[in-house]
Assembly symmetry: C2
Homo-oligomer: 412 residues x 2
């Protein structure tokens, strides 16, 4: 039997867009990983009748209802008394929670206010889920075989209670299926292009295995999810899926281009440097998001203006001033300069017109030239970015990274 | 009369937590800005009966239903046929959309597949909302005085259609209240710090004016929203609010630090350059997100390793190799080098330990040194970033930018 869950998040700040709801995605991941299907996610404001209505609607179709938010000490947090009433209980003082709240504030040398002590009042019809990281306890209610779990909205408090208490308790109370995920990351082509290759494969999948497309700028992640299936069978379907799009796959596990390039560089003991123009330093910044990047990434010279290309990168002023700076020649000179100055094994350059609103010829809008070079050979190529300034920058970064990955795979 | 809206997001990827739903927050902000109350947000999977059920539930209490996702070209996108059936229409080819889809793919030199051409099939009971940025058109349906707006899930496509077409159309069809927003952007202090100053002010606000805190790393945006109130009264409350936190405000309108700095530099006809270490190029990249950045931003030398600091930035090898590289001395030398090499009016450097997982002394974790210099004077200062690698990087960028803003304001 499929176990369904609903997630109800409470708070005006979610509805007016002040807060991006990251809790729901995290909870969804955790439940999915243990084979529970999140059927619906609902966000409602701090309005009593809206919360009650959400509970009534969700309990019709879900076995587990996870409620986050609305448990803090401020006046507008109405969730606890509401849940108490909904499940026909009374608020009573929980001595252990009271002791914890007092110790919690004393440790932080913060004054203990009445509203804080009131957090030790809990419905006598729930099981308290201990909140080690904060002062608002989680609560577990059961009614007509539906489980209701109320958690604080602060992400690290919620995660700790879920991981340590709620998820293990769910596993003891529900017979969950076995779930296996297999992910392949692709770059260079869009969702619809890949769908052509995988159409038949997807149609032929048994109903206990599902394929998800996760598009991003510059590529698509493909995730196979199997329910109650053996690792061997999953692996065989995964290999079948990958076989037809092998040339597009850069990772057979969930990863990113910058992580894969970092692995390549570390494994082959190589260093890299950059000469960036239109990306403004964002490619080097992306590579340095990887912990330990200083072992393989030497840096970047960002030459955003003509005079910086001449004075800092050392390109010839004739080349820069007498011709267009988005050319194969300039890209090549930029990469060569970075290779020399940083004495890295590989150097990469990009120059381009990423802002579609710039006053240039229509055919040059979105044009980029890229050069990847080492001491022995250079690869240059151009591409056209079809969007606006920010998306074009993202897509240009992905394009450069994917070509670095291929360059290293081909030449080392 | 209060106009209610519901947001329905469609896609299994949202429920299993593969994607964090940023669309809903953005849509919530936009609707809130024109005086429409988002009553509920619901996420459902790619399951026909779940989508239909969500439509039926939301139309009971909302005047406007915004649906995002489920419009892509792959097999699992079931939203369009479902909406067509739900509103009693038939899918017919829209010649203008077909022309647009074909031109869209031709421009990108991508093959046009049947699934792409099928995107030109639209229900004959909707008004097409032109999708300039992508191939899946938006759709506007009306039934029993409820408006249903279906949009693609790709954020920049969705935003463009909302901004250019859907929101203006909503304004013509609904009598929205007069909403006035006044925003002040602050930097340097957190939400709870500012709340101390504004507690009394917030308590004394009339019920038709609301204060929202919009926290970000490095600062808080404060937004006053007045419903059916005069500009004069709003301005007076806004000035009252700003008076007590004047020293923290960097903009009296909704803006960003990089925009404000760009305005300062352009107005004063100044140029800037960077020497970055721990931020990997991200500060320069942030400045170059501003259109026309080449008039004021010359570039950055990213020296991520010791040898890059010596060979590319030209720091003395003694200084780099014989002492810690996160010091006031190194920061000063880095900024001086950038000033010289880029011949900019102002140069800014940063060096730091942003990764809390790095094996260094506990007291150095999160430490950054910053130098801002021009031909006449240098300002140096240090700060401690309390989070992990990525958040620390964001906070370091905000810290540097805020200090550049102050430096320019103080010295030019």
């Amino acid at each position: 039997m499929q176990i369904n869950a609903s997630i109800i998040t409470i708070g005006d700040e979610l509805l007016i867009g002040q807060t991006i709801d990251t809790n729901s995605a995290w909870i969804g991941q955790q439940l999915n990983a243990i084979g529970i299907w999140v059927k619906r996610r609902v966000a409602v404001g701090d309005v009593k009748q809206d919360i009650v209505q959400a509970l009534q609607q969700e309990e019709k179709s879900s076995n587990i209802i996870i409620i986050t938010g609305g448990l803090g000490p401020t006046a507008d947090d109405i969730t606890k008394p509401l849940l108490c009433e909904y499940f026909g209980g009374q608020l009573v003082q929980n001595d252990a929670v009271k002791k914890h709240v007092i110790a919690f504030f004393e440790k932080r040398k913060r004054p203990i206010l009445d509203v804080n002590v009131a957090q030790a009042m809990v419905p006598n019809v729930c099981e308290v889920l201990w909140n080690e990281m904060g002062s608002a306890p989680g609560m577990w209610f059961t009614k007509n075989n539906v489980v209701y779990i109320s958690l604080p909205g602060v992400p690290f408090e919620m995660k700790k209670i879920m991981t340590d208490i709620a998820l293990p308790k769910i596993l003891t109370q529900f017979k969950t299926p076995t779930v296996i995920h297999k992910t392949a990351c692709t770059a260079g082509k869009g969702e619809s292009f890949i769908a052509v290759y995988l159409k038949q494969f997807e149609q032929d999948l048994p109903n206990y295995i599902k394929l998800a497309y996760l598009p991003q700028l510059g590529g698509v992640k493909l995730r196979l999810t199997g329910i109650n299936v053996s690792e061997q069978i999953m692996q065989s379907y995964f290999e079948q899926m990958c076989a037809s799009i092998k040339h597009l796959i850069f990772s057979y596990k969930d990863s990113t281009l910058e992580k894969i390039i970092a692995e390549q560089l570390i494994n082959k003991n190589l260093t890299i440097s950059f000469a960036e123009s239109c990306t403004g330093g964002a490619i080097c910044a992306k590579m340095t998001t990887i912990p330990g990047a200083s072992t393989f990434c030497k840096g970047s010279i960002v030459s955003y203006t003509d005079d910086a290309k001449i004075n800092v990168l050392g390109l010839s002023s004739v080349a820069v001033l007498q011709q267009d700076v988005v050319t194969e020649t300039i890209a090549t000179q930029m990469a060569n300069s970075a290779l020399l100055k940083f004495t890295s094994d590989i150097a990469v350059s990009i120059t381009g017109y990423l802002d579609s609103a710039t006053q240039i010829e229509e055919t040059k809008k979105g044009l980029i030239w890229i050069c990847i070079t080492n001491k022995k050979l250079s690869k240059t190529f151009s591409a056209n970015m079809p969007y606006e300034r920010l998306q074009n920058t993202e897509l240009a970064i992905a394009t450069v990274l994917n070509n670095i990955r291929i360059f290293i795979a081909d030449n080392y």
